[in-house]
């Protein structure tokens, strides 16, 4: 049985379909989760997709954080279940305090949409084990509030503990501290990523198929852990 990966749809989610498709292309079974669900329906991992949950009102991700589905998700994530937050999903993970720091308005004030070169800095997370350390990839980036900020002590700790998962190369598109494009929690099961690997899984629509390895990684992690076969 393929691992079951839940993809949460919030009001205003945009990329839930693409995330579900990426899960399937990587060989997993995608399970649609609704923000109003008080259960995760027994999934093995969860993707919080990109978009504009609750219209980005208040702060990006601030209202989604209090959705019914987030209570069991936060518990499961603390218990080791793999969770990937992409773009708005990353913002929700920060608002939920599953990841440190916050994402603020791009320093240019412009919404940025481009194919972005990244370097994978850590392959010891549940979502990046299929990469090689230092591997360079190109995936789409599209955000208005993608500037990663945290205090210097937190940034130093992230670097020292190997929790910077991906960094922007060539250009820092949004003013993120230390060119950070993605981070993980201490255990490595929760990853937040501002760029969009789910849009780079097919040659027809993506700049590359580099994004697929994130989804293949979690399937490998789950099978390796005996959670799914």
């Amino acid at each position: 049985m393929a691992p079951r990966i839940g993809v949460v749809t919030f009001p205003g989610s945009l990329d839930d379909r693409d995330a579900a498709r990426a899960v399937r292309l990587a060989g997993g079974e995608s399970v649609s989760l609704w923000h109003g669900d008080a259960t995760l329906h027994g999934v093995d991992a969860v993707v919080l997709p990109g978009g504009f949950s609750y219209g980005d009102y208040l702060r990006c991700g601030a209202i989604a954080r209090f959705s019914p589905v987030m209570a069991p998700l936060v518990d499961a994530a603390r218990g080791g279940m793999p969770v990937l937050g992409i773009c708005n999903g990353f913002q929700i993970l920060c608002e939920s305090h599953l990841l440190p720091g916050a994402l603020t308005r791009n320093d240019s004030l412009h919404f940025i949409c481009r194919d972005q070169r990244l370097r994978i800095e850590s392959t010891s997370t549940a979502w990046t084990s299929e990469f090689t350390e230092g591997q360079e990839i190109v995936v789409p980036l599209k955000n208005g509030e993608g500037s990663y900020v945290a205090d210097e002590r937190t940034l130093d700790a992230l670097e020292a503990e190997g929790r910077v998962v991906a960094r922007y190369l060539e250009v820092n598109p949004n003013g993120s501290r230390r060119d950070i494009a993605g981070i993980s929690n201490e255990a490595g099961n929760v990853v937040g990523l501002m760029p969009h690997p789910e849009h780079a899984v097919e040659a027809l629509t993506g700049p590359t198929t580099d994004g697929l390895a994130f989804f293949a990684s979690v399937l490998g992690s789950l099978v390796g852990a005996g959670v799914a076969r």
Binding site: L58, R59, D107, L109
Partner: protein, 83 residues
């Protein structure tokens, strides 16, 4: 009726590109000597009845979790009318 005002501002060390854009516009519109603009949010919350201690505590908690993000923002809560 009670009324509570919560002001949320970015912490001083957080870059505020919107505030900077407003600062630029103020200068272009002829206002000299503007050294800084920081943009924030204000929530004016009207409540039925009287604002007792337990509701006030609840509001403080919500100001620190929902209305502001303590990683990047500070808030101040003032009771304009306790009802």
């Amino acid at each position: 009726m009670a009324r509570v005002v919560v002001d949320v501002t970015l912490k001083p060390e957080i870059l505020d590109p919107q505030g900077q854009a407003v600062q630029g516009a103020l200068g272009r519109l002829g206002l000299g000597g503007v050294t800084s603009v920081r943009q924030g949010k204000q929530f004016v919350i009207s409540l039925e009845g009287v604002l007792d201690d337990s509701r006030r505590t609840q509001l403080e908690e919500l100001a620190a979790t929902l209305l502001s993000n303590p990683v990047i923002e500070d808030y101040s809560l003032s009771v304009e009318d306790a009802g």
